[in-house]
């Protein structure tokens, strides 16, 4: 059992590393289209988001619809840090690393203060409150103005002019226009390292005593409570770690964009990540990685369909869900391909 788990984990690391080496060498030799090149960092961002959301939805079994909110907090705090430190730290890699730490810490803090009240709720009520928090974060960041001049930082929630800055002042966060001119520090390598760190944290957590406690709570909260597992503590831990990883991913995302606005992190982004998790298989980390990659590339691959692109995408999505989950279809698959599948499974063992 333990050996099998180790093998699956090694397979996950192996696939990610192999994919990185292939893509990187393709990029270096210039045989990658500019479209695909532009997708490399977003793919890394979405993989980290999907894996971190899987920790909450798949491993701890709580439906969260506000993951984009944590990404938003991480993106803004990380980009803010980078803009402030632009002249102090000149090495792009170091600056990005520190910005990610800042983004992750701030997002973790938000995860903690949101998690404490939210995790008292159950099921769909929890889902709607995470949705609400995501919207609140987006809305509030939309009206924040921060500027800097000789006297230090100025803060306002009204508009750019009420910051009251000296003429040489610089606006850092400009309300709905967001942050412009974040140094473009994000690289594919940085994304790859972030994925490895994320996988390391999440896979080790799942295989640890804490992870088993979290899954016990998911399977039966009452039974877990009765054997002395501290439900709130473990759920909060899961939620906070997930938020921190989403924050780091958000920072990476911000350093890949010229303009960062809060409206990008809306409900649809949260849903998009949730789709990765559900299609990849809940609790299945490798599944999340693959689903995030395929579903980020797929809409771009369908570009030749022009206006029909999202239509086809939505039909594929519905069809995949029915194919994977419908009891009738599963039974039909078992009847027709059952022998094949069973043989596959035997070989895998």
């Amino acid at each position: 059992m333990k050996k099998k788990k180790l093998r699956v984990n090694l397979l996950t690391y192996g696939i990610v590393t192999a994919a990185f080496i292939v893509m990187q060498s393709l990029a270096v030799t210039g045989s990658l289209s500019s479209l695909m090149k532009g997708l490399l960092v977003p793919i890394c961002v979405y993989i980290v988001l999907a894996v971190s959301l899987n920790l909450v939805v798949g491993i701890s079994g709580e439906l969260s619809l506000g993951h984009a909110g944590f990404m938003c907090v991480g993106a803004f705090s990380g980009a803010f840090f980078s803009k402030c430190m632009q002249d102090t730290i000149t090495s792009g890699g170091l600056r990005l690393f520190l910005a990610m730490l800042v983004g992750a810490l701030v997002a973790a803090f938000f995860g903690l203060i949101i998690g404490i009240p939210v995790l008292r709720l159950r099921g769909d009520y929890l889902a709607i409150v995470t949705l609400a928090f995501g919207e609140i974060i987006k809305n509030v960041i939309n009206v924040i103005y921060i500027g800097v001049d000789g006297d230090g930082f100025h803060f306002s929630m009204k508009d750019q002019f009420s910051l009251g800055m000296a003429p040489d002042g610089k606006v850092l966060i400009n309300g709905a226009q967001g942050i412009t001119g974040t140094p473009k520090d994000a690289t594919f390598l940085a994304g790859f390292i972030l994925i490895l760190v994320t996988l390391f944290i999440v896979l080790n957590l799942i295989d640890s005593r804490d992870g088993r406690a979290i899954m016990a709570i998911r399977d039966s909260r009452i039974a877990a409570e009765s054997i002395g597992i501290n439900v709130t503590r473990y759920k909060l831990m899961c939620f906070t770690i997930s938020a921190a990883l989403a924050g780091a991913a958000g920072t990476l995302y911000a350093h890949n964009l010229a303009t960062l606005t809060a409206s990008k992190f809306n409900f649809n982004t949260s849903i998009l990540v949730l789709v990765f998790v559900v299609l990849g298989g809940m609790g299945n980390i490798l599944g999340s990685v693959i689903a995030a990659t395929v579903l980020t590339v797929l809409p771009e691959m369908l570009r030749f369909l022009n206006n029909y692109r999202m239509l086809i995408y939505s039909i594929i999505l519905i069809a995949m869900m029915i194919y994977n989950w419908s009891p009738q279809v599963l039974e039909w698959r078992e009847r027709h391909f059952g022998r094949l599948l069973r043989r596959d499974r035997k070989e895998a063992e």
Binding site: I128, E135, F267, N307, S314, I315, M321, I322, W325, S326
Partner: protein, 294 residues
């Protein structure tokens, strides 16, 4: 006086939310699923009425009736094709994601047919508002009609559920599907009926919403959809009076927050109130408290 006028606007917007929330809550009560495509059915309803009035030269009432008919059929078709295969799936998230797929689908079909440019919706209400207190307080015709529609829908729906066989069947199915089937109730038919009613209501809500706020795009439905979903949870999801109450309160809070605090932060305030209410009453205002059994 301005407060009174804001309040009336709030009740009017709240009535629209309430009508949408009724659809959410009925579907949730009976199928235990969050139908995220509901907001887009609203949008489809509004587009049908828009086309009927602008291109086919329908007058208001037939256009609204046509929109209701189209949405009712659409609701049943969606339920049969996309949701029914998944209602018994081992994970309740499967049907949620499918609903999101349906939502993208509807948005993109409308996008292909009508384009992304916003359409300006012509109000279906043709009488002028009334002016009270020597012109200090004017109430628009849309506000009056919306509020009246909200009350009418609530009364008809409560009567339908409390006093007809189909209504009783819906209650039975929402309480216990297996037992309802044993009593000879057609469970699949009842679920389809629920979707039909919910989608019909969505069409009404779409027309009313666009009469008050006359900008129509393929994404018009999504934000009111999310807000109405919030309203349904606010009132206690699965509870019909709860959805109505939740919708009204949410609409009033939104308009008052826009008027007195900040128009940019009004959504944040609405959601903050929701969170506070849920923390005090974890199953919503009128939600049933279920005891957990081991």
């Amino acid at each position: 006086m301005s407060f009174l006028s804001y309040l009336l606007n709030g009740i009017s917007l709240g009535s629209v939310y309430a009508i949408i929330a009724l659809g959410y809550t009925m579907v949730y009560g009976i199928a235990k699923m969050l139908n995220f495509a509901h907001g887009d059915v609203i949008m489809v309803g509004a587009y049908v009425a828009f086309t009927a009035i602008m291109s086919a030269g329908f007058s208001s009432l037939p256009a609204v009736l046509l929109a209701i008919l189209v949405c009712t059929v659409l609701g049943v078709v969606i339920e049969t094709i996309a949701y029914r295969p998944l209602l018994e799936a081992s994970s309740s998230l499967a049907v949620l994601i499918t609903a999101i797929g349906v939502s993208y689908f509807l948005q993109n079909v409308v996008l292909l047919i009508f384009g992304a440019n916003p359409k300006s919706f012509q109000s279906v209400v043709h009488f002028k508002g009334i002016s009270l207190a020597g012109g200090a307080l004017t109430i628009s015709g849309e506000t009056i009609v919306t509020i009246l529609c909200g009350i009418l829908v609530m009364v008809v729906l409560t009567t339908f559920i409390g006093h007809t066989k189909q209504g009783q069947a819906m209650l039975a199915v929402s309480e216990d599907k297996g037992a309802a089937q044993l009593m000879g109730i057609n469970v699949n038919g009842t679920i389809a009926l629920t979707f039909a009613i919910g989608s019909g209501l969505a069409a009404i809500a779409g027309v009313l919403l666009c009469s008050c706020y006359p900008v129509l795009t393929p994404y018009t439905g999504s934000m009111p959809g999310i807000k109405a979903f919030t309203a349904a949870v606010f009132g206690g999801i699965g509870s019909i009076p709860g959805a109505f109450l939740g919708g009204l309160i949410l609409g009033v809070i939104e308009i008052l927050a826009k008027a007195y605090i900040s128009s940019q932060l009004s959504d944040a305030i609405v959601f903050a109130v929701l969170i506070i209410v849920l923390l005090v009453k974890p199953t919503g205002l009128l939600g049933k408290k279920t005891r957990e059994k081991v």
